[in-house]
Symmetry: C2
Subunit: 314 residues, 2 copies
Amino acid sequence: MDRVKIIDCTIRDGGLMNNWEFSLEAVRSVYRSNREAGVDIMEMGYRVSPQVFRREDHGPWRFCDEELLRQVVTGPPGDMKIAVMADIGRCFKEDFLPKGESVIDVVRLACYLHQIDEAAALSDHLNRLGYATVFNIMAVSAGTAEEVGSALAVVARSGAEGVYLADTFGSFVPADIRQRLAFYRERCPGKNLGFHGHNNIQMALANSLAAREEGAAYLDASLFGMGRGAGNTPLELLLPLIRPGNIAPMMSTIQGHIEPLMAAYKWGYRIPYGVSGLLNQHPREAMAAVSAGSGISYGEFYERSEQLNLSPVP
Amino acid sequence: MDRVKIIDCTIRDGGLMNNWEFSLEAVRSVYRSNREAGVDIMEMGYRVSPQVFRREDHGPWRFCDEELLRQVVTGPPGDMKIAVMADIGRCFKEDFLPKGESVIDVVRLACYLHQIDEAAALSDHLNRLGYATVFNIMAVSAGTAEEVGSALAVVARSGAEGVYLADTFGSFVPADIRQRLAFYRERCPGKNLGFHGHNNIQMALANSLAAREEGAAYLDASLFGMGRGAGNTPLELLLPLIRPGNIAPMMSTIQGHIEPLMAAYKWGYRIPYGVSGLLNQHPREAMAAVSAGSGISYGEFYERSEQLNLSPVP
């Protein structure tokens, strides 16, 4: 197997918790400790259009302006690549410079199944500009095999480097990873496959290791698992389980810049997230239940969620 | 495969957090919701000698007096069995009544490698009294293959029903589970095998599912993962991933009786626990680091721990 690429998405996916209001110092600390540890790609945030979101409503890492990125990506060039996530429907061709004028190497295209053609059009444009692209198709566990297969056919015809299996609902166990990655490989021959986990049922890391065993070329993670709801695969655990690296600086970055955010934003396993993962449901109602605190009965939440249960699909 | 037995050890292992000071109401709620969910065995606490520990220093579930257990185990007999854990070196033959006079079905024998003969002597005595016994050998990842093999030979000659692979340091990934359970099976032919996980590197649940795939007959878990350090396998996730059950009452028990304890005792994943799991070390120093809060540098903790790193053994 080729060296798997570890992608840090702390600022991008963790930004969902703090509205992308990371200090420049925090992002620089993440950048430096990622390079020390041997992270392959650092995702700096979202690229969205200032026509869609007002700058005064969100932190700077939701826009990832080129000048901002250049305040982090400094010093001698290393092996670590720079990525941003394009939020399909919220950013457009005119939001990207030609690759030669940008520090960005990879654009990841986040889309739902129904947005796949729009994502493919942007992917083609970005490839022509000189960027590598990767598709992240969300919420596939709520789609039928036919819907997922059709979207993967679009990916297969594109010039993208690869496509992610994203466990948006946090409902997968390793057996699902094996089955679904086989399906992705069959539909997208020759493309690199990736995995993006969520920790609703505490399987994000185990699923990532299972994805690696199945030949995944990209694995996503974030520092201290920072991310919405139950959070993501913890980078500080995934990386040393995959290969040796100098992770002591990463531990310091977490202590200095990420752990303090946990106190305010409290991502991580809670019973309602477990319920939504077990029942393969979007975490939105679980997030509302956690916010409501003792105002909602977990027993009733489980029973109500069970009524809505979706059947698993490949 | 036979039906795997799910063992709830919330009161016993979770008791390490609150000094076994659970209210009778809390333990009754756990008992009732376990029965509703189809839990196979409920471990009510430790059995230790009042000659070794003073009753005024610990909650009642560290002693599990027969009269106390009878205040919980009431109503028509169901399928759920009752267990206690014998803490080898801290309880003795005279601490057990004949099975006919007790509500206990199973005694689990917790011992370190050097205590295996003492555990075997107590196991024989308990079998003669009419109890089923199971060995839980702790900290095996710090022993050599020869040491672990010798202990398993003692188990093989005993009348115990089975033996646990306990991930005391929280350092295992599924590949370790497969390798180690094969070793246990080879050394203890005909015995049931069990797995007791810890969540230092967030693998407790995944390892439990891997153990089941390898034919483990017993899987331990606790409500909301309550347990020392990073905690245990969460029962409310393990059970529904193994088989259907009525788990809504279990969710209510967690909300009413276990989640409130989290605020006071704060078990669960923290960076120092991850470090001790990654480096296969006893969590005692990690627990001290977590208690010290910002007084200790995670980067330095990692580097110091790395110096002490133990090599993995089968």
